[in-house]
């Protein structure tokens, strides 16, 4: 892949998947943390 400075960025699919995976991991991970630390009602 190449930086955009000289035209169209080639490739970079790995970065795309990483961003989406990380977004979901963060949200679901924090959700799990919130649910686990809710403690006794």
């Amino acid at each position: 892949m190449q930086p955009a400075l000289d035209g169209v960025v080639q490739g970079g699919e790995g970065f795309v998947y990483a961003v989406y995976a990380l977004t979901w991991l963060t949200i679901l991970g924090y959700t799990a943390f919130v649910l686990l630390t809710r403690g006794p009602r």
Binding site: A4, V9, G12, V16, Y30
Partner: protein
Amino acid sequence: MNDKLWFVPLVLGLVALAVAHYGGLVMAPTEAMMGEVGRIMYAHVPTAWTGMLMGLVAFVFACGSLATSKDGWDIGTHASVEVATLLCTLLCIQGALWAKPTWGVYWDWDPRLTSTAILVLSFAGVLILRALVHDQGKRRIVTGVTTILAFVNVPITYYSVKWWNTLHQDMSSGSSIADEFKWSLYLGWLAMMLIAVGLVGLRSAGLMARLRREHGETALPKAKQKIELLAEKGGA
């Protein structure tokens, strides 16, 4: 009890986010300049909007907390600072993952990136300080003051860094999203907002329960019987 209501926006948001991401990741056309990397925008832009809005929410909660001295506002501040920190951290990493293939570097002194990172640092400081202060009255004030200043600092930092950078070439982020796929962006933003609201609500409920356990109202003890002294020496 009604804490469970917070699951409604959370679950709705998660479903909506899945749809929005499917749109961005699969359905949208390849971007003209950024190629496949342009798809990062469909995840990145909603995170940015939501992260900053949660910062604003934290700021509003903090103002309310200082103005009213009510624990509810303070708990809301804690929960929203936490969610804002999380989203802005995610935002920075997403930004870096976008910058590498586009600009060739992970980090650039872009005003948006820098001021977001500064917000993450100061909000993290707020959370750490909160963990160290145990007296609830003091913790409320300390959290309120630091949250307000951390948020007010964001625009100042943004413009300072922008100015600092003027000699540096202005890299446009060129988020030229195809018009017919704008819906994915807005749906993604709505989804993130619903998720954030649900999480702040659930987290607040958990924090409130803990506060009640540790500092909660306990009934004022009944007055004990007064001691009666008998007239003669020796007493009771």
